[in-house]
Symmetry: C2
Subunit: 161 residues, 2 copies
């Protein structure tokens, strides 16, 4: 069952998750205007907002904010990993080996790397996923390891925070 079939058929319970399971997103071409607009709002530094001035900076040209890469990666994750009750992140580690650039085309590959039943709450587990965001040259622009809360079958509704 590939991730497209999963998306169309049903969202996943904890019982559906297994170690090494993989999910693949569609490709997303980065709109330059959106990339720069994001930086103007949330990360206003010249290497993210000013094409000319960016040339003389660390990045040698305009580069996306890491938080923009993270946000696009989240969009790709929502569209490729359907979890019953939604994707609820408890925390993560993230790094950006190289920046996203204008006109890059990003895609996400997600792998289940750990599954741990909750000790205190028997209706759920904590699933660790590694999400690698690639550009069109198959270079990694973001490596994210995230812990998400996944409920057992018929347990996702009306679970409180």
């Amino acid at each position: 069952m590939n991730s497209e079939e999963i998306t169309k058929n049903h969202a996943l319970n904890l019982e559906d998750i297994y170690l090494g399971q993989k999910f693949f997103s569609d490709a997303y071409p980065i709109p330059k205007a959106e990339m720069v607009d994001f930086a103007r709002k949330y990360d206003p530094q010249i290497f993210h907002t000013d094409e000319n001035k960016a040339k003389d900076t660390f990045f040698q040209g305009i580069a996306a904010s890491g938080w923009y890469t993270a946000s696009i990666s989240m969009k790709l994750l929502v569209n490729s990993l359907p979890i019953i009750g939604g994707l609820i992140g408890a925390g993560c580690e993230v790094n950006w080996p190289r920046p996203t650039r204008e006109n890059d085309i990003l895609r996400l590959e997600t792998e289940v790397i750990a599954i741990r039943p909750s000790k205190s709450k028997p209706d759920r587990g904590i699933v660790s996923i590694q999400c690698l965001t690639y550009n069109q040259n198959d270079e990694i622009v973001q490596r994210l390891i995230s812990k998400i809360v996944v409920f057992k079958k018929n347990m996702a509704r009306n679970q409180k925070i």
Copy 2:
């Protein structure tokens, strides 16, 4: 010297950084429309986008995407921690003990928790900072530990990636 004075006076070199140094942002009231618009674009799940349906979810009401909290925190960091050559993040750990809600007022407190000279590049160091994002009730909505690249005096210009 408080962070406001630093912002007005000069950006910091590696030599200006010391362990335990703190920086404080202004307060930022969360515009509900911006919070929901962010989620529609980057994290389209009902507990982030639909006020009514969110009531029956894990979050028991509409909650910001964690990536929105991260993006607002970055905006507050840019405005409170002036580093020569800009804030360049090498990687971070982030978690969200509770969600940001509509009409929350967020502020950021940043502390220098480690300073390490680069082994391979004598013109720079890696500075670890802990950034705590608080709401108006002094509850932590985000805990971020980030490693940033900081150049020595007169070394930030024309440094390449």
